[in-house]
């Protein structure tokens, strides 16, 4: 038998492949081949050599799309046992067959570990290659130390691959490689270009996530780029005589991220960017690729006029190129650039017009994207029309979704023809579009604009146009459109009462109900609409007919609605009460606890009904009863039920009463609830000042709207517009030119510089921002006070670091004084403990004695991994003046755990100190503003910049009417974490009047720990909660022998991270904490042979990861 197989192999590969290529018998032959292969790989006599052949063949079959999973395990075996060549094929097969989460991958770990320790370079290389392609996340600790060692390897190829493997680890588990950041720095300075280039991948990623942490490296990157551009690299890195283009582009991207909104950092790179632009002159794709990146970087960093000019010229080269690829890239660059400088569009307007009708769809789409960015009130009609044209031609789902949301966004910004456009959007976009779009549309219609009369007209127009659409007998509309129509008709059809008959509307809706293409969800919307109309027009015949008809419907939902309607019709007062006129915007108070049912429940209980148990409790009981092994993973099934149990759990007792008069129209209620929920998440596009159209232009548009017959709203109503004439092919060339000119004038109207106000909001804000910033820098120059713009982001640049050192020195001189204050506050604290020990928030902190709780903040700041760059200069006079202005907390606040006061920024006149107070329910930032000058300061404003991560409850600003000379004022801000993050920076500024407007900038580093509080629960609660959380993370941490027992380790955690130790049993411990306001996280620890196994669970996916990292850090430090 083995011989037979061997012979079939000897025929191969040529015969095998020929048959594969041959069309007819292909399928059959491959199946045959697969069967053969299956037999061979599983035969015990198969040699590894033969196995290698089989693997190569299997790879081919897999590529052709045939199932070959039977060979996966053998691929791993081959990688394990084979000699070099076989091993290599084995690894290749593994990397092609398996994916990251494949369970078989775990079997590979041992092999990788062995090969990493091999003395054979090739084996090490192969292991590193496979690690950087696929590696299971949980097993990273097993190979991490080995790979770290490889960073010092003498061969550059090994070092390079090790860096690459670490990059992979950084991508899949950033926390685990956090501790080797300084080794990355070493790799960046490696003498081999390849290793350095590899480390750039990591830096690009890290800088993307946190650009402020790496500003100090800017100079290094600039130097490297200078060397590359200057041709200092070995010649074999050249690509078509361009020096290391990939490296250049990587560096340009990094510089762009670093220089964004940062004038000082940007300044460092101006020269090298200029040089890059200059050097890239050879006419080759790769130089264009570099130029493109260059332009993007120049427009990303803090702007410099002459560079911008050069970059703009450069874009011209692209856009005007006859090569289509370059043209496309030019458009892409233009789209990017235009957000900052809309005038550039004017320069290239003719090209843009030509591209609009380009046969290549990607060019067309990019042009539309560009136009979308320059839309304003005057050209919106033309641009949207172009977009709709494109929309009608395209069939690809993704394009439709994308384009529809853009049109909808534009339409909302520029109303009135908005309804028509939306009609077209709804009927084309149909059911694939994002559900937010119809919701937003309805909200907009309901909330209305500033003018009540206008609103009415808009709504009336909507009602009329929908009635017109419904008039067409056999038109089929998408479900979402029908839902929108029925809602609008239900809410606003009363507006046309004088001209239209409600009976007619109801008949139309009734007809719709009987159509087969209408889904039951849509029917619910329609029924809701009918109910609303019926409440206004009692005694309608259509309603009676409808009730009769659907009371016997086979569809239970419809029957339910019919009954509800019937009951409502019998009780007119209730109906009026329930469905008030035009009240869709009024807030509804929903009694979520359903307390009005308490009586009902009590009655049920007294009659012997079983008390209600929440779902997870039932599940748990069931599990404990079964006492069998549970093979299902806990997390998934329970979490899904948990998320709903809060809802269904409460609703189920009311199931009985649903049909009764309490909730006359359940869908209606649900819908309202939903829309009110939605409101929070959605941007307010229509704020009081967001929408400011000119009165006259609007009325003009309105007239146009009125003239259009409502029936033809499907986008076809622009026929008489000059634009569509441009599409006609009969026009002579010169005519065509004219058309294009005309089109250009309609498209780019309002882009001229004077009209900047009517441009899109985005452009506006950026320019304003620039203005503001430049003003600051001006004052900086004119006053020549270097310390005016302080930045307490300690690690960001040399200057602040000097400042921080400065701080330290000052602090040390004042040490005695501070001691005193802290002592006094500790006395207060002690006093408060003796009174309210049971309620005091932080058992942990208190048990640990006071010094600890004052020490912990310093450990929080310790991870800023700063390096001292400059020797410090202590200015004695400053220290002296400061001494009189020592901030101290009020007694009430001091009773909470708090940090020492840290100076954020200072100038000759003012100093800002910060004290963090960790209260029970939030993080309080207490800011002390000290006036060092001898005159009083008036109107001092403290403003925080908006941050996506944090929310300041009291609002972003604080106003001090007056700060007396040599005195101290304080303000409090409580901060909440909005978006989970490890550590982020909150930036703020202080503005005051002193001869001329002056500002001080500062920033506060807030870490996750600031928002972690102990959660006191019992062991049983812990068990219940543990089961209900789905996100978990496990990790083993080495404990140093000094840490000794589990309880000591947990105590350190409790002190430093403000956790709560729930229970310790033997070598296991339970710890609980919560992220403010109330996201719990549970921690299960187990010691085992010097290792501490940490297992975290939480309902929030990011929390366990971040917390684990903090725990790790604490344990490693102690």
């Amino acid at each position: 038998k083995p011989q037979l197989i061997a012979s079939s192999f000897s025929l191969l590969p040529s015969s095998f492949l020929q048959t594969v290529l041959g069309a007819g018998l292909k399928e059959k032959l491959i199946q045959q081949e697969l069967t053969n292969l299956k037999a061979t790989v599983s035969a015990p006599t198969t040699t590894l050599r033969l196995m290698k052949e089989c693997m190569v063949r299997l790879i081919y079959c897999e590529m052709l799309g045939y199932e070959s999973s039977f060979g996966y395990i053998h691929a791993i075996k081959l990688a394990q046992q084979g000699n070099l060549l076989e091993k290599r094929v084995g690894y290749l097969a593994v990397s092609l067959f398996l994916h990251e989460n494949h369970e078989l991958l775990l079997l590979l770990v041992n092999t990788v570990v062995k090969d990493l320790q091999s003395t054979n370079l090739v084996e090490v290389c192969m292991a590193l290659t496979v690690v950087s392609q696929i590696f299971p996340r949980e097993m990273i600790p097993a190979v991490l130390p080995l790979i770290e060692d490889k960073l010092q390897h003498s061969k550059e190829i090994i070092r390079r691959k090790a860096v690459q493997a670490l990059y992979k680890f950084y991508l899949i588990a950033p926390n685990q490689v956090q501790h080797i950041h300084d080794k990355f720095r070493k790799a960046l300075c490696d003498r081999d270009v390849g290793v350095m280039a590899a480390s750039l991948h990591i830096y690009l990623q890290m800088i993307k996530e946190n650009s402020s942490g790496y500003k100090d490296l800017t100079e290094s990157f600039v130097t490297i780029l200078k060397q590359v551009v200057g041709g200092k690299l070995p010649i074999d890195f050249n690509y078509h005589s361009v020096p290391a283009p990939w490296l250049q582009i990587q560096l340009l991207r990094i510089l762009g991220l670093l220089g964004k909104d940062d004038p000082r950092t940007s300044e460092l790179m101006h020269d090298v960017l200029d040089e890059s632009l200059r050097r890239a002159e050879i006419n080759h794709n790769i130089t264009y690729a570099i130029l493109f990146e260059c332009v993007q970087t120049i427009y990303t960093i803090y702007p410099k006029p002459d560079l911008l000019e050069k970059a703009a010229k450069c874009i011209g080269k692209f856009v005007l190129s006859p090569k289509i690829n370059l043209k496309y890239l030019g458009l892409k660059a233009l789209t990017y650039v235009i957000q900052q400088d809309p005038n550039l569009a004017l320069q290239h307007q003719m090209t843009i017009i030509e591209c609009l009708d380009h046969p290549d769809p990607i060019i067309k789409r990019e042009t539309l994207e560009l136009l979308y960015r320059i839309t304003n009130g005057q050209n919106v009609t033309v641009i949207v029309q172009k977009m709709l044209d494109y929309l009608k031609q395209s069939k690809e789902e993704y394009t439709i979704i994308n384009l529809v949301s853009k049109i909808a966004e534009l339409a909302e910004k520029y109303p009135f023809w908005f309804i028509q456009t939306m009609n077209a959007v709804f009927s084309i976009g149909g059911d694939v579009m994002h559900p937010d779009i119809p919701n937003n549309f309805l909200r907009l219609l309901a909330e209305g604009f500033d003018d009540e009369k206008e609103d009415k007209q808009l709504r009336l127009y909507a009602v009329q146009s929908y009635l017109g659409l419904l008039e067409e007998e056999d038109a089929i509309y998408p479900q979402k459109f029908l839902q929108v129509m029925s809602w609008v008709l239900g809410e606003y059809s009363y507006l046309i009462n004088d001209e239209g008959d409600p009976e007619v509307i109801m008949t139309r809706l009734h007809k719709l109900l009987k159509k087969t293409f209408v889904t039951s969800e849509t029917k619910a919307w329609i029924m809701a609409a009918i109910t609303k109309i019926a409440s206004l027009n009692p005694g309608s015949k259509t309603v009676d007919k409808l009730i009769q008809e659907f009371s016997t419907s086979l569809d239970t939902c419809m029957r339910q609605y019919a009954f509800e309607l019937k009951h409502l019709c019998e009780d007119k007062d209730l109906m009026k009460n329930l469905l008030p006129l035009d009240a869709s915007c009024d807030d509804m108070v929903v009694d979520a606890s359903l307390s009005f049912l308490d009586g009902f429940v009590a009655e049920g209980l007294s009659r012997g009904a079983a008390p209600y148990k929440p779902h997870h409790q039932r599940q748990e009981e069931k599990l404990s009863q079964e006492k069998a092994l549970n093979f299902e993973p806990y997390g998934l099934s329970l979490s899904s039920s948990m998320s709903t149990s809060g809802f269904t759990g409460r609703q189920s007792p009311t199931g009985l009463s649903f049909g009764s008069d309490i909730s006359g129209n359940s869908t209606e209620m649900g819908q309202k609830e939903m829309s009110s929920l939605k409101l929070d998440g959605v941007k307010k596009l229509w704020g009081k000042d967001g929408y400011l159209p000119k009165k006259d232009s609007k009325t003009g548009k309105e007239d146009k709207l009125e003239a259009v017959p409502p029936g033809s709203t499907l986008g076809g109503n622009m026929v008489d517009h000059p634009l569509s004439e441009a599409d006609q092919e009969v026009v002579s060339p010169s005519e065509e030119e004219k058309e294009k000119q005309q089109l250009a004038s309609t498209l780019f109207v309002g882009l001229a510089s004077n009209n900047a106000v009517s441009l899109m909001g985005k452009a506006d804000t950026t320019t304003q921002k620039f203005k503001r910033k430049s003003k600051i820098s001006e004052t900086q120059n004119s006053e020549e006070v270097p310390s005016i713009q302080h930045d307490a982001t300690l690690s960001s640049s040399p200057l602040p670091e000097a400042q921080s050192n400065n701080n330290e020195n000052i602090q040390s001189t004042e040490h005695v004084r501070l001691r005193k204050t802290s002592l006094s506050s500790s006395e207060v604290l002690e006093a408060s403990i003796s009174f309210k020990r049971p309620q005091s928030l932080m058992e942990a902190g208190l048990d640990a004695k006071l010094p600890d709780c004052r020490l912990s903040p310093s450990s929080l700041f310790a991870d800023n991994n700063m390096e001292v760059f400059q020797p410090t200069q202590v200015i004695p006079s400053v220290a002296a003046s400061k001494a009189s202005l020592i901030p101290s907390l009020s007694e009430e606040l001091a009773s909470n755990p708090h940090s020492e006061a840290v100076e954020l920024c200072s100038s000759d006149t003012l100093a800002v100190n910060l004290c963090k107070v960790w209260t029970d329910d939030c993080l309080l930032l207490v800011l002390f503003v000290a006036n060092r000058s001898s005159s009083a300061l008036k109107n001092v404003n403290l403003v925080f910049e908006n941050s996506e991560h944090f929310k300041i409850v009291e609002g972003l600003s604080y106003h001090f009417p007056v700060i007396k000379a040599r005195s101290l004022e304080s303000c409090q801000k409580s901060v909440q974490m909005e978006k989970n993050c490890m550590q982020e920076i909150l930036v703020g500024s202080l503005n005051y009047h002193l001869e001329m407007e002056t500002g001080l900038e500062f920033s506060v580093t807030l870490s996750l720990i600031d928002f972690i509080r102990p959660m006191k629960i019992t062991t049983e609660d812990f068990g219940k909660l543990w089961l209900s959380f789905s996100n978990d993370v496990k990790q083993n941490v080495k404990m140093s022998p000094s840490q000794g027992s589990l309880s000591i380790t947990l105590n350190t955690l409790q002190q430093k991270l403000k956790l709560h130790v729930v229970d310790i049993v033997g070598n296991e411990g339970l710890v609980a904490c919560q992220l403010l306001p109330s996201v719990p996280c549970l921690l299960h620890c187990r010691t085992h042979a010097g290792m501490l196994a940490l297992w975290l669970r939480s309902p929030c996916s990011a929390l366990p990861d971040s917390l684990l990292y903090q725990c790790q850090k604490v344990i490693e430090e102690s």
Partner: protein, 148 residues
């Protein structure tokens, strides 16, 4: 990101997808690219990604990149890969790739790792492959010696 060619000769995925999905995607992409004419650009919108492709003789090389990536650069990545193949095989043709596709994979892995460019120096990339080839060949000879 992934790379593959005309009548599928080579494929490499840098994201995890179920097999069914992969098959569907490949079919779709091959259709899209074969339908393009020569005057059109080398880029096509596809879902939220962009396909960048180039034709060499009878083979299409294609890769899918994200929107913020640089299309021209991707085009040059493809070109550099072809250059590497050419250098390794010496005037590469389709058959070279068909019969030595594992070698083509090795070269690809040496050039692009985990979706990022690894080695931009042509010399060192090819040298790395040749080095390991040599080692292997000697090992192979060694293994082939009859055992006594």
């Amino acid at each position: 990101m992934n790379c593959r060619q005309g009548k599928l000769r080579l494929q490499k995925w840098y994201t995890t997808l179920p097999d069914k999905e992969k098959k569907k995607i490949i079919r779709e992409i091959v259709q899209i690219i074969l339908a393009r004419n020569q005057k059109m650009s080398s880029f096509v919108d596809w879902k939220d990604l962009k396909l960048v492709y180039k034709r060499y003789a009878s083979l299409y090389f294609c890769c899918a990149i994200e929107d913020r990536d640089n299309e021209l650069l991707a085009l040059e990545v493809v070109h550099r890969y072809v250059e590497l193949l050419d250098r390794y095989f010496g005037n590469v043709c389709e058959l070279d790739i068909i019969f030595n596709f594992e070698k083509a994979y090795f070269i690809l892995d040496e050039f692009i790792l985990g979706g990022e460019i690894q080695e931009t120096s042509k010399k060192s990339a090819v040298k790395a492959i040749e080095d390991s080839d040599m080692l292997q060949e000697t090992m192979e000879e060694y293994m082939n010696k009859p055992a006594f």
